[in-house]
């Protein structure tokens, strides 16, 4: 017998025939197709019981009520809360991506101490003891005012506790970052006296004259503004947008009026002049005018004649006049200040001049008008207990008018200005103008304690980091702000146990004060933050705990409003952009990019247009007429007095010739591969310019030149 070719043929045929009438073929075909539909490496979230947790988003000043969908207690989705009076069911892209912040690669997982430039994990007890030791020494040296504090806002019980801490410790140096709310409060205080702030009833106004406010790009409470803008279109209210660039807001407006950047205050002054000259102001409301209306009138007629302002602003005299008259003749006109999100560097003069237009129309504290309302006063803080050292310290003069001015002073001074700095929920080393200067100033501060959830630029420049739970992991009262008409206080509640070894900032402060002991311990006589919060809001705790929010005020505030023209009658100077180059660089607020703390989520960054950022390259918007032969998409170097950056050109006929714009919120330098290392931080190209009088940074832009890179 010989094994030959036919034997192998028989073998093969037999095998094929055997397999063919066995189930192998049919079964493997089916299984293979199933396998390709359910890749084994694709994660499948486990199924379970669906529950909802109620909270309030604190990612921006919008304060939207949220429902967090959970599966077996694991949060899987954030949705807008239907009944919440601010957002009425809506949510923005940052809010719905909020869960990503829980597991962000930059989350600080445990307290950290810097040792020779490197962070080492330590326990909470060690961290608090370390900070308390430093503070104890400051008080021993009788220099409690050398403790400074920067928080994102001064509203709500947590910033309130920092303020309480500072007063009890004996330091007047509590600063907040510049926000739309801080601008509005400062404006209201300047024109109507202290204890006031402004709100805008955009839901009912019939003529909105916006001086660059990005109504659908994050201004105020973003979701409330989206809804107000939709409602405006339905009820036919007019909306004029005055800004140098055809933003999304300008594109939805009835009229876009391009204006040379930084001349908005001059325009508003000229419009005030027209209203006064044409006798189009409300005589009844004018009865409450104080402090030199006549002087103001004489000044605007003399210094801001329409023809002259037309040349400065680039808007024709006829248009200025027509717009002013249309605004004054509307039934419910509202002039809205605050460029973009309204939180950047601007000038008090601009805010005051724009709000004076509201005052002249008399549409104040009426439906569809501007609300001059008291600053939120629902918190009942006990008086802090101070000893002699604290009393002396607290009586010292405040070091600066703003966080920006403080940083500038520290940077410029040879002698130590601040011994210890607390930073809470703010990223000044990124979001203040000229962050290089801020970082240099931080290096001069011997001891920086950062209460933060994320390892951002400021955290990297700190000495001790106390990791804070995110808004999904802790209690906090969250008052509406940033131009929202009423006052709604929401209760952020833990929808999930802290993912890492983090604490509520309130608990951290109480722990710190108790460790310091003495009058500090007496001033913080609460067992924990939740008990503290409950005792601070006795009037609204029932509402907060039952429905998750309390409506403190709704509708127009009562009472007469007095208006003081003294500030504007002096004709404060308009801040000019630094430098003498031909172009003016302005930061752009993009709804998809968070410009302050915390930085954007990975999800949000994924949604940004590739005409803003492509891979790691940043784009600068420019009108093709200004491009001087440069190509769309080509690489250029933007140079300003503060620095230079390599970027790509984005031709946009919707930006005024002579103006270039870069989106804020990119170019982070911390360790997060999803968010950082993309583009340029526009603040690095702008140096701060402190406005005399207000102490605020008024550098809205800077002169710039571009050259082929």
């Amino acid at each position: 017998m010989k094994v030959d070719r036919r034997s192998f043929l028989g073998l093969g045929l037999g095998a094929v025939a055997g397999i063919a009438i066995s189930p192998v073929g049919a079964k493997l075909t089916d299984d293979s197709s199933i396998w390709t539909q359910n890749w084994p490496w694709t994660p499948v979230p486990p199924d379970g019981k669906i529950t909802y947790g109620q909270s309030v988003c604190t990612l921006c000043p919008g304060t939207c009520g949220i429902n967090v969908r959970k599966i077996d207690g694991r949060p899987v989705k954030i949705e807008g809360q239907d009944t919440y009076p601010v957002n009425n069911g809506g949510a923005c892209l940052h809010g719905i991506a909020g869960l990503q912040y829980l597991y962000d690669p930059c989350r600080v997982k445990t307290p950290l101490k810097k040792n020779n430039g490197r962070f080492e994990p330590i326990s909470w007890e060690e961290a608090i003891t370390l900070v308390a030791g430093r503070l104890g020494k400051i008080r021993e040296n009788q220099r409690p005012d050398s403790l400074a504090c920067i928080t994102d806002t001064n509203l709500g019980s947590v910033p309130g506790l920092f303020s309480h801490f500072m007063t009890a410790f004996g330091s007047p140096n509590h600063f907040t970052m510049q926000t739309l709310e801080s601008w509005l409060t400062q404006t209201a205080q300047t024109l109507h006296g202290s204890g006031h702030t402004l709100g805008f009833d955009l839901d009912n106004a019939d003529f909105i004259l916006s001086f660059g406010a990005g109504i659908i790009e994050g201004w105020g409470s973003p979701v409330a503004c989206f809804k107000a803008n939709s409602g405006r279109m339905q009820r036919g209210a007019k909306f004029y947008q005055i800004e140098p660039r055809l933003s999304n807001t300008a594109a939805t407006a009835d009229k876009w009026i391009p204006i040379h950047p930084g001349t908005e205050a001059d325009l508003a002054m000229a419009m005030c002049g027209i209203l006064l000259q044409e006798n189009l102001f409300d005589p009844e409301f004018a009865a409450g005018f104080r402090g030199g209306l006549n002087r103001f009138n004489a000044m605007v007629q003399q210094k801001y004649p329409v023809d002259q302002v037309a040349a400065i602003t680039g808007i024709s005299a006829a248009d200025i006049k027509k717009t002013a008259i249309a605004f004054a003749k509307a039934k419910m006109p509202v002039a809205v200040p605050g460029k973009g999100r309204g939180d950047g560097a601007q000038s008090l003069k601009e805010f005051a001049a724009i709000h004076t237009l509201n005052c002249l129309t008399g549409n104040i504290n009426k439906k569809g008008g501007t609300f001059v309302k008291p600053v939120p006063g629902y918190l009942a803080f006990p008086d802090p207990v101070q000893d002699a050292v604290a009393r002396d310290g607290a009586a010292q003069e405040k070091l600066a008018g703003s966080a920006q001015e403080l940083v500038t002073k520290i940077h410029q001074s040879d002698a130590p200005v601040v011994d210890t700095l607390f930073v809470y929920s703010a990223n000044p080393c990124y979001s203040l103008n000229d962050p290089m200067q801020t970082r240099a100033a931080f290096e001069k501060i011997p001891f920086v304690v950062n209460f933060t959830s994320f390892m951002d630029e400021t955290a990297l420049a700190s000495d001790v980091i106390l990791p804070i739970s995110t808004f999904l992991e802790r209690f906090e009262d969250v008052p509406s702000k940033a131009g929202f008409a009423g006052l709604v206080v929401g209760l952020a509640q833990p929808v999930v146990d802290p993912v890492f070894d983090t604490r509520s900032p309130g608990d951290a402060l109480i722990h710190l004060a108790k460790t310091l002991g003495g009058t500090m311990g007496d001033s913080f006589d609460w067992p924990d933050y939740k008990t503290c919060l409950k005792s601070l809001v006795p009037g609204i705790w029932n509402d907060l705990s039952k429905s998750g929010y309390a409506v403190v005020s709704q509708g127009p505030p009562a009472g007469r409003v007095r208006t003081d023209f003294a500030f504007l009658a002096e004709n404060p100077s308009t801040i000019q952009p630094q430098g003498d180059a031909d172009l003016t660089l302005v930061p752009i607020d993009d709804m998809r990019v968070a410009s302050t703390a915390p930085a954007s989520s990975p999800f949000a960054i994924k949604t940004v247009s590739d005409r803003v950022i492509k891979n790691r390259d940043m784009f600068v918007e420019i009108n093709p007429k200004t491009a001087n032969g440069l190509k769309d998409g080509g690489f250029v170097t933007v140079t300003t007095p503060a620095g230079s950056a390599k970027v790509r050109l984005n031709f946009n006929e919707g930006i005024m010739p002579g103006v270039i714009g870069m989106v804020k919120g990119l170019g982070h330098t911390f360790d997060n591969r999803y968010v950082a290392g993309k583009g340029v931080n526009v603040h690095e190209l702008i140096s701060p310019v402190i406005e005399p009088g207000s102490g605020l940074d008024a550098a809205f832009g800077v002169k710039a030149s571009i050259s082929k890179a």
Binding site: M1, K2, V3, D4, R6, S7, F8, L9, G10, L11, G12, L13, G14, A15, V16, A17, G18, I19, I21, S22, P23, V24, A26, K27, L28, D30, D31, S32, I34, W35, Q37, N38, P40, V44, P45, D47, K49, I50
Partner: protein, 223 residues
């Protein structure tokens, strides 16, 4: 005629001769081919039927034995443990918390299985990592409420008489797809006698066509 053509012609003639019946010289070659054919056929055929299913599925024992019959007897029905939640979603396999409606960390009976449950899961507050025989893939949306409430179907129609079992059979997982063997069915050819013998899409379609006159649309289940 070229050498190659010669060879080819010769070769083909050889083939004809080899294939011709009654040529005793070539019988052995053919016979060996047939033997090889039969051998290979038998090996592959039997492997396909007997060995292949064993290779395709991996077997897992449940964490401990569960006596459905006893529990049905004690509680009276399936719904006591496998219930619809208020929002209409199905609870599926009960959580340890549900078991604690009756059980405590002290065993109620004397079986070794209950002792494991009490010691390892109740006392340690852990969930039992049951293997789920009827688990459908993530790409399938299935509403128990629609079938139980709206269509008034009985558990047995799809799940068979599992409520009468006194012990947990091993869970068999398809190594390629990760599916439970119960989805395809125990029969490797996919032949079924009862509706609960398999739980593939076609099984759904058969019943839907019978009951509603239509197999249903893709998006009804694949959302």
């Amino acid at each position: 005629m070229s050498e190659i053509e010669n060879k080819t012609e010769h070769g083909s003639m050889d083939g004809a001769k080899e294939c011709a019946a009654g040529d005793p010289k070539n019988d052995t070659g053919l016979g060996l081919g047939v033997i090889f054919f039969i051998l290979a056929f038998l090996i592959c055929f039997l492997s396909g039927w007997l060995l292949f299913p064993k290779l395709l599925y991996s077997k897992h024992e449940q964490p401990f034995n569960f006596d459905h019959a006893l529990h049905v007897q004690e509680t009276g029905d399936c719904e006591s443990c496998h219930f619809l939640r208020e929002d209409g979603t199905f609870s599926g396999i009960p959580k340890t918390e549900s078991c604690l409606d009756c059980h405590t960390d002290e065993p109620m009976g004397e079986t070794e299985d209950e002792a494991i449950f009490a010691a390892e899961y109740v006392a340690k507050q852990r969930e039992v990592p049951w293997y789920v025989y009827a688990k459908q893939p993530d790409c399938v949306y299935f509403s128990h409420a629609a079938h139980i409430k709206a269509a008034g179907m009985d558990c047995v129609t799809c799940h068979g008489h599992i409520g009468e079992s006194t012990s947990s059979r091993p869970y068999e997982e398809n190594r390629l797809t990760g599916y439970s063997r119960d989805i395809w069915g125990n029969n490797i050819w996919g032949i079924t006698k009862n509706p609960w013998d398999s739980m593939k899409m076609d099984d759904c379609a058969v019943c839907h066509e019978k009951e509603t006159g239509h197999k249903g649309y893709c998006f009804q289940c694949h959302k």
